[in-house]
C-alpha cells in the first residue's frame, strides 16, 4: 500500500470506481497468449464475438483482427472457438 491511497472518509461509498476499467491492465494476469496462423485464419470473427474481454479488435481498414495484449487474460476461448484451428495458446513470455 502506498501513501497516495485514500482513507475511508475520502472514498465514494459502495466501491464506486474511481478509475475506468480501461485503466486496469488485466492482460498481465495471463499465463498463455494466443498466437494466430495467418494462413489458416479466415477472418470469420467468431473469436472476437466469443472473447469475454473484448480483447480481439477488428480493423475494417485492414480487413483483419489483432489481439489486445493489455486486456487478453489468456483464457483460450478464442482458440477453442476457431473453426479452422488458426489460434494456438503459447506460454506467454515475461
Amino acid at each position: 500500500m502506498t501513501n497516495q491511497e485514500k482513507t475511508w472518509k475520502e472514498i465514494a461509498p459502495a466501491g464506486v470506481c474511481s478509475k475506468s476499467s480501461t485503466s486496469f491492465l488485466t492482460g498481465d494476469w495471463k499465463t498463455y497468449t494466443p498466437v494466430r496462423d495467418l494462413e489458416k485464419c479466415t477472418r470469420c470473427l467468431l473469436c472476437a464475438l466469443f472473447c469475454p474481454d473484448g480483447a480481439i479488435l477488428w480493423h475494417p481498414e485492414k480487413g483483419d483482427i489483432s489481439f489486445d495484449n493489455s486486456f487478453c487474460k489468456g483464457c483460450g476461448i478464442c482458440a477453442n472457438q476457431c473453426p479452422t484451428n488458426a489460434i494456438t495458446m503459447k506460454l506467454a513470455q515475461e
Binding site: 475511508w8 461509498p13 470506481c17 474511481s18
Partner: protein, 410 residues
C-alpha cells in the same frame, strides 16, 4: 395518546398491515418469492398491483436469492424497492444480503420471523434473522401489527437517509403477529406520502471525474461494488460501520418525527423502557413477547415488586449507550433469546447485552433465558417465573445457572 393527524382504524393481521404500509409508501419495485409466514404480505401486495391501486413493478422471481438480487438492482438504479421473506428464504438470500448492504442499497424487507429447518417448522422464532446479524442490515423487531405497519413506513426514511444508506429488515414474529388480526390505526395516503417523500441522492465522484447522483444512470455511468482488494476493501467495510453508527441517531429522529404526526412512539425508536426507572429486577426481550411481559410486569407492580422491562426495538445497530443507561439501576437482569447460538455462551442477545454491560461499574447479575423455539407458546406464568428467579438472584447476588431454557421438558 394524542392523535395528531386523522387516521383510519382497520382490522389487519401483521402481514396485511405490512402490505398496506408498502402500498402507501410509493414503492417502485417489489421482487418477492412466497414463503410461510410471509406469503400474505406479497400476496396482498400483488392484489394491489393487479387492481391498479399502486404503480409498482411486481417481479415474480424464481427464488429468494433472485428476489434480493432484483431488489438490489432496482434500488441501485434509484428505485424504492421492497421485498419480504422468512426462514429458509432469508437463509437463501444470505449471499445477496451482503451485496445489498455493501452496495449501500436502501432496500426495505419484512421478515416474518420463523424457525429454520431441520426439523421442519413453520412457526415463529428469531433463528432466521439472528443468523443474518452480521450481514450489514439494520434490524428492527416489531411488538405488534401496529408497530410492523409503522416501522415499515419509518424504515424507508431510515434506509434512504444520506448518512445511512443501508438496507433495513423489519421483523414481525411469525403467526403471533403475521397471522393475528389486530386493530391497526392507519395513516392517510397523503400523510404517508408527505412523510416519506421521494428518494434523494447525494453526489459521488465517478471514474469520469464527474460529481453525479449516487445511482445507476446511463447518462452518468458508474460502477458499484465490482472489486476492491487488499488496498481498499477494508476502507469500504469501515464506511458501513460508520453508517450503522449514524443510523442510531437517524432512527431516533425519525421515530420522533413519526410520533409527532401519528401520536405513536416506540420508546426512543431504539429501545422501549417499561417501569425501568426504579426497577431492581428487569428483563430484556425483542418482538411480540414484550406484550405478554408488560402484563406480567403490571401484575408484579400491583404487588409492589420493582420489576421492569426493556424491549430492544433496534438490534442492529445495537444501541449500547441507550441500553446501558436504561439498565443503570437494575441489579438482576434476565435476557430473553428466541434463538440459539449452538456452542456459544448463551443466545445472541445475551452475548451482546452481557458484553456491553462489562464496562459499567455496577453491572447487574445476568441470566439468559432461551425460549419459544419453533413457535412454542410462552405463557404469562412462565414469564412470571423469570421474575421470581430474578428475585432470588437479587437476594443471593449470584447467578447459579447463567443459561436457562424456558418451557423446555428437561
Amino acid at each position: 395518546m394524542q392523535i395528531v393527524t386523522k387516521q383510519k382504524t382497520m382490522a389487519l393481521a401483521g402481514d396485511q398491515a405490512v402490505a398496506y404500509a408498502v402500498k402507501q409508501s410509493d414503492v417502485d419495485v417489489v421482487a418477492a418469492y412466497p414463503i410461510t409466514p410471509q406469503t400474505i404480505i406479497v400476496e396482498k401486495f400483488s392484489e394491489y398491483v393487479a387492481n391498479g391501486e399502486v404503480e409498482t413493478e411486481f417481479v415474480c422471481v424464481e427464488s429468494e436469492h433472485s428476489a434480493m438480487a432484483a431488489s438490489l438492482a432496482a434500488s441501485a438504479t434509484g428505485a424504492r424497492a421492497f421485498t419480504a421473506t422468512a426462514s429458509a428464504g432469508l437463509a437463501l438470500m444470505h449471499e445477496m444480503l451482503f451485496v445489498t448492504s455493501g452496495c449501500r442499497a436502501p432496500v426495505v424487507m419484512a421478515v416474518a420471523n420463523r424457525a429454520l429447518s431441520a426439523p421442519l417448522n413453520i412457526h415463529g422464532d428469531h433463528s432466521d434473522s439472528m443468523a443474518q446479524r452480521d450481514s450489514g442490515w439494520i434490524q428492527m423487531y416489531a411488538e405488534n401489527a401496529q408497530e410492523a405497519y409503522d416501522s415499515i413506513i419509518q424504515a424507508f426514511r431510515i434506509a434512504e437517509n444520506s448518512n445511512v444508506l443501508l438496507p433495513v429488515m423489519v421483523g414481525l414474529d411469525g403467526f403471533t403477529l403475521s397471522h393475528t388480526l389486530e386493530n391497526v390505526e392507519t395513516l392517510l395516503d397523503e400523510d404517508v406520502k408527505a412523510f416519506i417523500g421521494t428518494r434523494k441522492f447525494s453526489n459521488v465522484l465517478t471514474h469520469e471525474g464527474k460529481s453525479v447522483p449516487f445511482k445507476l444512470d446511463p447518462t452518468n455511468p458508474m460502477t458499484m461494488g465490482p472489486i476492491a482488494l487488499q488496498n481498499y476493501y477494508f476502507e469500504f467495510k469501515r464506511q458501513q460501520e460508520e453508517a450503522m453508527k449514524n443510523a442510531l441517531e437517524v432512527i431516533e429522529q425519525i421515530n420522533g418525527e413519526y410520533s409527532k404526526m401519528s401520536g405513536r412512539s416506540y420508546g426512543n425508536g431504539l429501545v422501549e423502557t417499561y417501569y425501568l426507572e426504579d426497577a431492581e429486577i428487569a428483563a430484556i426481550c425483542l418482538g411480540s413477547t414484550a406484550g405478554t411481559m408488560k402484563t406480567v410486569v403490571d401484575a408484579l407492580r400491583q404487588e409492589g415488586i420493582k420489576a421492569g422491562l426493556l424491549r430492544l426495538r433496534t438490534f442492529r445497530p445495537l444501541p449500547f449507550e441507550a441500553i446501558r443507561s436504561a439498565l443503570s439501576n437494575v441489579k438482576a437482569l434476565a435476557v430473553m433469546d428466541k434463538s440459539m447460538s449452538f456452542g456459544g455462551n448463551g443466545g445472541p442477545v445475551f452475548q451482546e447485552v452481557r458484553s456491553l454491560l462489562y464496562d459499567t461499574d455496577n453491572h447487574p447479575n445476568i441470566v439468559n433465558y432461551i425460549y419459544g423455539l419453533g413457535g412454542r407458546d410462552t405463557s404469562p406464568t412462565e414469564l412470571r417465573s423469570i421474575y421470581e428467579e430474578l428475585q432470588n438472584i437479587l437476594q443471593a447476588k449470584h447467578v447459579e445457572k447463567p443459561i436457562q431454557y424456558l418451557g423446555l421438558r428437561e
